[in-house]
């Protein structure tokens, strides 16, 4: 009988060591709260950072994964032209939503870094840094140190950034966005929705594709309704 308890104790110790090793190697030095999946999800009302005016007649929502090389390629090659031709001209409002893919080890962590930068008004600067220095996604190494450097370059206050990352402040927000993507049948990244309608491409779309789509949507959309004030100007009360 005593021998059995010894066996039980030895098995418990071995399994404890194995679990500890798995947890240690799972996320490297990256803050587990920021890199891992939160146990629960809450809707904080946030629906993504946007570029472009709220009055734009076309809204494009992009579900992206920061570790996805195609997303990085799209962000660095296509987005500058899209920004110049469609967003800066007021035609389009572009909304960024997180969709971290489970196959990517640090995509949640990167999305969290971008959200922590966003809390300081530096989301787009951090997004640029993460995509422009995308080699971090190929090395498989813990990118927490690099992300701090990128955050600093993006003009982020590192004390607040560190606290935000350690706390995993936006882990639930990111998970909510991912689940929202699931409910909309997002099946890869990047996935685009134009005025709520999912776009299906057999290849990565370019800026020309979006220009055609946006022009077509605007051409077929009803003209914008005048506001109450504009109506009063057109038909002044007697």
């Amino acid at each position: 009988m005593n021998r059995f308890y010894v066996v039980l104790a030895v098995v418990a110790i071995v399994l404890g060591v194995v679990v500890f090793a798995l947890l240690r190697t799972g996320g490297g030095g990256a803050s587990a709260a920021a890199a891992g999946t939160p146990p629960t999800v809450a809707d904080d009302g946030f629906r993504g950072y946007t570029l472009g005016p709220g009055t734009a007649r076309v809204e494009i929502t992009e579900y992206l994964d920061f570790e996805c090389p195609v997303c990085a390629s799209f962000a660095t090659i296509q987005m500058p032209t899209i920004t110049e031709q469609l967003i800066n001209t007021g035609k389009v409002r572009w909304r960024f939503r997180d969709y971290p893919l489970p196959i990517h080890k640090y995509s949640r962590f990167a999305a969290h870094a971008a959200q922590c930068a966003g809390a300081q008004g530096r989301y787009f600067e951090m997004q640029d840094q993460l995509f422009e220095h995308h080699q971090w996604a190929q090395t498989g190494r813990d990118p927490s140190g690099l992300f701090r450097d990128l955050a600093q370059t993006a003009g982020v206050n590192l004390t607040a950034y560190d606290a935000c990352m350690k706390e995993g402040k936006y882990a639930q927000r990111i998970e909510y966005s991912r689940q929202e993507g699931d409910s909309l049948r997002v099946d890869g990244t990047p996935t685009f929705f134009v005025n709520g309608r999912k776009l299906e491409f057999r290849r990565l779309p370019g800026s020309d594709d979006f220009k055609v789509i946006v022009d077509s949507v605007i051409a077929h959309a009803p003209p914008p309704q005048p506001t109450e004030m504009q109506r009063q100007h057109q038909h002044p009360a007697p």
Binding site: M1, V7, G36, P39, Q179
Partner: protein, 156 residues
């Protein structure tokens, strides 16, 4: 006794499997170690990964730990001859087995993703259930003096 020992050992292993999944669900350890399929992440981040406001893995830890404690308690010399322990273990194992069956059904037919850790846990719980049922059906353990004493030495 062998049945109870087997249940205790299996419950201990299951407890650590569930513990790993629970700690991961709480945000410890970053990405889950599950191969490249992504099945574990898909399962762990699905709406069915939370039950009554708690990660499902927590119920796994609680269930296996309960089985472990009951099995160890049933291994005390005073409890060895009491068959009621076998019934309690079989009842607990049946609850765990049904819950595991439901989770496996969700993985196959609702989430459409398989988590290796969850499959491992399902195998362990099924094994516990089989052993527990066998223990209930096993003959009564004899503890009278005659049965526990060595046979008489013919040269004596």
């Amino acid at each position: 006794m062998r049945y109870r020992q087997a249940i205790a050992l299996l419950a201990l292993v299951g407890c650590f499997v569930a513990l790993y999944l629970w700690l991961h669900a709480l945000g410890y350890g970053g990405a889950i170690k599950c191969g490249a399929s992504g099945g574990c992440e898909a399962v762990q981040t699905s709406p069915w990964a939370v039950f009554l406001g708690l990660p499902v893995a927590f119920f796994g830890v609680a269930g296996y730990f309960t089985l472990l404690v009951v099995a160890v308690a049933a291994l005390r010399p005073a409890a060895l001859a009491q068959r009621g322990w076998n019934t309690v273990l079989a009842l607990l194992a049946s609850i765990g087995f049904l819950f595991t069956g439901y989770l496996t059904y969700l993985e196959f037919f609702v989430i459409h993703a398989l988590c290796r850790w969850c499959v491992g846990s399902a195998v362990i719980m099924t094994a516990i259930w089989i052993v527990a049922v066998l223990s209930v059906r096993s003959p009564v353990l004899r503890t009278d003096r005659g049965a526990s004493q060595p046979p008489p030495d013919p040269q004596a």
